[in-house]
Amino acid sequence: MRLLAEGLSARRGEDLIFNDISFALSAGEALVVTGPNGSGKSTLLRVLAGLLMAEKGSLKLENGPPEMRHPSELSHYLGHRNAMKRELTVAENLSFWKNFMGDSPGGSGRDLVEAVEAVGLPGIAHLPFGYLSAGQQRRMAMAKLLVAHRPIWILDEPTAALDAGADRLFAGLVNAHLDQGGIVVAATHQPLGLERTGELRMTGFAGVGGGMWHDA
């Protein structure tokens, strides 16, 4: 399996945020996206997840399973928001996502108890999600990556609000995923402690490209 991005560019509102970004990731490889505030890291990840239309360029998965329309169907996306309901318990949240997402071909998700243990918070799955602290919430959102199997993980500042211990724990999870032949793309301001990573530095795109309301 190989994730191939060629000449991607994307707009927010009317302005080009980045232009002509290409990379290729084989199974077991990770890409870390870095850059200053506002340089377009989150935007790039949303394009990869199929949540924003790329302005130009293409995103392909080679040697993937057949009958798949977009790589996003094989991806997990962990954005700034955790996609968990405050009113439901952690267990209810996780088992909903496990059922709703199902597993991608070629793997199977772990069960709830294992996943919660893997993020280091065993025994509090019965609490409503809203009762957890910021860092605990983030860890539970990571447990979501484990309950449904997806070969590609797209992570936006996964370790913000995590303490040092959780950082290491997270690095362990990601490395295990890579060892199983997964692909990881992560945006971050902090070092993540991953092996076998490429780095993509976003610098922001100061020019206009398509400022259609102005004269050229």
């Binding site: 302005d15 505030n37 922001g204 100061a206 309301w213």
Partner: protein
């Protein structure tokens, strides 16, 4: 084939915002002057022609009411055309045109409603009845206001354009309902006597000021529309410059 694509290119050349601004600067004074001229003429005509033996002085309301009503429908049709432009060709100026037209159309519809009510009180004895024609015009008014509210609520035009284009097209069913409501349902309202397939049946004495006023209103619409489109383009320039400023600020720190 090549001729066709050339025509399209020409069209989109003209529809380039910068060119549009230049064009607007050139034609606006002329339009404004013509509009004023026709209004003077129309007002003079409408106050000098005789009153109707049946309706008395109130017939003069017609010279405002009918053009305003026509324009309210025409403005929506312009918006519907622009909506097709947005959806099919994705041309940015189409969205500008549709946005700029909404407040103008709302004003004309408001005028048709108010003058109609003012006419209805002496003629029918009620300010308002819930018959098909009046109700559908009121719905048109609400639709204009709703579109304006929607346009204001989503401040990113790239996202709101297609949504509001679809809504405009959905709402277009209302226009034939307005036009033919007097024929499909029996209502208190006058049936068409000018815009008919078999020619106008109205007395030329009333037709003359009516036509002049209608032309004046149409010119007014185009003048305001062009000016409002120009404003909208400027607004978008301001917006995109501001985003640019936000993006480049603090870069060097």
């Amino acid at each position: 084939m090549s001729e066709n694509s050339l025509a399209i290119r020409k069209f989109s050349d003209l529809a380039n915002p910068t060119r549009f601004l230049a064009l607007a600067d050139r034609v606006l004074p002329w339009f404004a002057a013509l509009t004023a001229l026709f209004f003077v003429l129309g007002l003079w005509l409408s106050f000098t022609t005789e009153g109707d033996y049946q309706q008395g002085e109130t017939v003069r309301i017609m010279y405002v009411h009918v053009p305003a009503a026509w324009l309210s429908m025409m403005c929506y049709s312009v918006m519907a055309l622009a909506a097709i432009g947005t959806l099919v060709w994705r041309h940015p100026l189409a969205d500008v045109s549709s946005r700029a037209a909404a407040p103008i159309g709302a004003c004309f519809t408001f005028l048709a409603l108010v003058t109609g009510s003012l006419w209805g009180k002496p003629m029918w004895g009620a300010w308002w009845v819930w018959d098909a024609r009046l109700t559908s015009v009121f719905v048109l008014f609400l639709m204009y206001l709703g579109l304006m509210a929607l346009n204001r609520a989503i401040d990113d035009p790239a996202r709101s354009s297609r949504v509001s284009a679809v809504l405009v097209l959905v709402g277009f069913v209302n226009i034939p309902i307005i036009k033919f409501s007097v024929e499909w349902w029996n209502t208190l309202h006058q049936p068409a006597s000018v815009l008919r397939l078999d020619g106008p049946t109205i007395d030329p004495e009333f037709l003359r000021p009516l036509v002049v006023m209608a032309i004046a209103f149409t010119l007014l619409f185009f003048t305001l529309h062009i000016a409002a489109m120009r404003n909208e383009i400027w607004r978008r320039r301001v917006t995109s410059l501001r985003r640019l400023a936000a993006r480049s600020a603090g870069r060097e720190v």
